[in-house]
Amino acid sequence: MALDVQKLADDLAGKMKPILGQRWDEVQQYAKEEAAKLAAVLAKIELEKVRGLITEQQANILFDMQKNASTAVIAAVHGIGDMAAAQAFNVALAELKDPINKALGFELL
């Protein structure tokens, strides 16, 4: 089942909003951009896994790298700490774990 990238990006950003709380207004542009990048990477991972170009282990590592990169962007651009940015991504992803894993066909999250 193919991932709906736009919906996933919107869902991720929507889950991050309450976690970032009062900081949302200042970081929303970057949070939305990074949520879109994460969703795009998930879709690419799905495609390459289906084609047999990458293994589950490689998929996990690549996804971890994108999460780190998105965390660095949000931490750098708007004065929120690395931990807060990472927590926002992790909580948002944890809440969307089941539909993402189901779409991918293996446990990425």
Partner: protein, 153 residues
């Protein structure tokens, strides 16, 4: 009387803490960090390009001494810069980003190792490159904020 002494001590402690906090300088812009980040981007980018070109050949396998040494050297460079920045009272956020970069150099190593005889293919090398370049751009953005005096920590 005892209670009175305690009150004074608490008040004095508060004043002392305020003086210490006020004396803490804001994080400094460090031009060496910008140079280091540019070097890392060049070195990691060149390594990924070169290794992708050797994918599927013995020289492209993780197990070669040259490849293993690259990862060790990069970790030493990033780790050294983290220690230097911390010792100089530099930006805590710069340290956090360098720690994320260090994690992703390790992730790149794992991807390379997991590739076995195929080595680092473009399918894994390119998204890895994109993630690392994003972190270095984040570092550059932070440095530019520090240069203009807008960093918050």
């Amino acid at each position: 009387m005892v209670r009175g002494n305690l009150g004074w001590r608490v008040a004095l402690f508060g004043v002392a803490a305020a003086v210490v906090l006020a004396a803490c300088p804001p994080p400094k812009y460090d031009p060496k960090l910008e140079v280091a980040a540019a070097d890392w981007q060049t070195q990691i980018g060149a390594f990924i390009t070169d290794t992708e070109g050797k994918a599927g050949t013995p020289d492209g396998e993780y197990a070669t001494e040259t490849n293993k040494k690259f990862y060790e050297d990069m970790q030493n460079k990033i780790g050294g810069q983290i220690a230097t920045t911390k010792a100089a009272g530099g930006s805590a956020r710069a340290v956090e980003i360098m720690e994320l970069l260090s994690k992703d150099v390790e992730n790149l190593r794992k991807l390379h190792e997991a590739g076995g005889k195929a080595g680092l293919t473009t399918e894994v090398g390119e998204p890895a490159r994109a993630a690392i370049e994003t972190e270095i751009r984040a570092m550059n953005k932070l440095q530019s904020e520090l240069r203009s005096g807008n960093d918050n920590g």
